[in-house]
């Protein structure tokens, strides 16, 4: 969290002047792995990467986050991802809510909810929930572990590491565990009027999982990772 305070907007000098980019610099950017230039993904403005080890680099024109650098990025994200995987297994093995009415107790896990939707002929909806709450987060965690473990032990990048990391980035908007957590809370209050609702172990592990996943992703430095996963080397 301390890196948040190191926030420093890139100074106007780090913007690239059309006339100031020398041909060798341009060639170096496009042909070597470690680039000195970076283009903003939201407005395409070129910036020179400063020689700073930690901090937050923002686009000087539109304010987009260009790079977030933290010390020990591989180790940190590896630790958070491992923790996330354990919590994920916990969250899917135990019921998250139990409803008591009279003598009846009805428990539900994430997967039984999805199966119930499937039984009601809502196949598309069942697949959507399965994807956004189970498969996408699981794929993200396994993909990150697959890439980070060899990097941590200073081995050569594993086969298809670049392709898998690209996939992890592309599916990111579709992992919606934190929204599901909100859904659990709403359902909890909603049913509170009708019956006694007992939150299960899963609610707590799920709650923790959201923060752990967020930490895992915010400790990643894609620019550094891409430098090390370069397909051409």
């Amino acid at each position: 969290m301390s890196a948040k305070h190191l926030q420093c907007e890139s100074s106007p000098e780090s913007r690239i002047d059309t006339r100031s980019v020398s041909e060798p610099e341009r060639v170096a950017t496009t042909h070597s792995g470690a680039s000195t230039l970076i283009a903003c993904h939201d407005c395409d403005l070129l910036h020179r990467l400063p020689e700073r080890k930690t901090g937050l680099l923002l686009c000087s024109r539109c304010g987009a986050v260009l790079r977030r650098q933290k010390p020990d990025t591989v180790e940190r994200s590896l630790a958070w991802t491992t923790a996330a995987l354990i919590l994920f297994i916990l969250s899917n093995s135990f019921p998250f809510l139990a409803m008591k009415t009279g003598g009846l107790v009805q428990e539900t896990t994430l997967l039984t909810g999805i199966r119930e939707l499937w039984k009601q002929e809502l196949h598309g909806l069942a697949i959507l929930v399965l994807l956004t709450c189970v498969l996408v987060p699981l794929a993200q965690m396994l993909g990150l572990l697959y890439i980070l473990v060899p990097l941590h032990f200073h081995r050569r990048p594993v086969p298809y590491a670049g392709r898998i990391y690209r996939l992890v980035q592309e599916v990111a908007p579709w992992g919606m565990m934190e929204v599901f957590m909100m859904g659990i809370l709403v359902a909890l209050v909603k049913l509170g009027h009708m019956a006694t609702i007992v939150p299960g172990i899963s609610v707590f592990s799920f709650g923790a999982l959201i923060f752990v996943m967020a930490a895992a992703f915010s400790s990643l430095d894609p620019i550094l990772l891409w430098d090390r996963l370069d397909l051409r080397r």
């Binding site: 002047d17 496009t30 970076i38 199966r115 709403v186 397909l231």
Partner: protein, 209 residues
């Protein structure tokens, strides 16, 4: 806008969408795949405006049945009750749990409509080449990317209710037809936000200077 700053495209470079490697435009034309990560290379997202318009229109069509048809059908002791999104919000307001009413209203009604309005506004602003506050429009775009996912809350609530409340004749909740349309709205608006290219906002400014 100062004229001295340059964009990647002005210098003949293409920014890889996935790994942010800068590739020469010429090389990208000959071989349209990123040499570092293998992603498809494009200077701007292909057919960004047409795709986004199409998805926005699809979402506008889906949003009508999503709000008119019932989201859940509750059976209590033989009596059936169908609830739309708005009737659910009103029920919670009247029964005193205004927090839940607010959450459902914001996530299921306000966010989808606001997102569609913002996307239409951004599309028009690029199409009619407005130069108005580009930085704020880029922030608006980032906002739509960020909040769109939260509309899924209602879908998840329905999933949980359906799984939990099945006490045979006493009480049972079934998902209504609106659930499918509502999920379609969320998915199409998410794809629409993804296919819009915020760099178009800035391209207009540079071309008009």
């Amino acid at each position: 806008m100062s004229k001295s700053a340059a964009t990647a495209l002005e210098l003949g470079l293409v920014n890889c969408h996935d790994c942010h490697l800068l590739v020469e435009l010429e090389q990208a034309r000959r071989h349209p795949h990123c040499p570092r990560c293998g992603a498809h290379l494009h200077a701007r997202k292909p057919n960004s405006l047409a795709r986004t318009w199409a998805l926005v229109w699809a979402a506008i069509i889906f949003i009508v049945p999503a709000n008119v048809l019932p989201m859940t059908v509750t059976t209590t002791l033989g009596a059936k009750q169908a609830d739309t999104i708005m009737s659910g919000v009103i029920y919670f307001m009247q029964s005193g749990s205004w927090e839940i009413a607010a959450v459902i209203f914001i996530a299921s009604v306000f966010v989808p409509f606001a997102k569609l309005c913002i996307l239409i506004f951004l599309l028009c602003s690029v199409q009619f080449r407005w130069g108005w506050r580009p930085k704020d429009r880029t922030s608006l775009y980032r906002l739509t990317e960020l909040v769109g996912r939260w509309s899924m809350v209602d879908i998840y609530v329905v999933t949980i209710l359906v799984a939990l409340v099945k006490l045979g004749a006493v009480a049972a909740i079934e998902a209504g037809p609106a659930a499918v349309y509502f999920a379609a709205v969320v998915v199409t608006t998410m794809f629409a936000a993804e296919s819009f290219d915020p760099r178009l906002i800035w391209d207009v400014l540079e071309e008009d200077v």
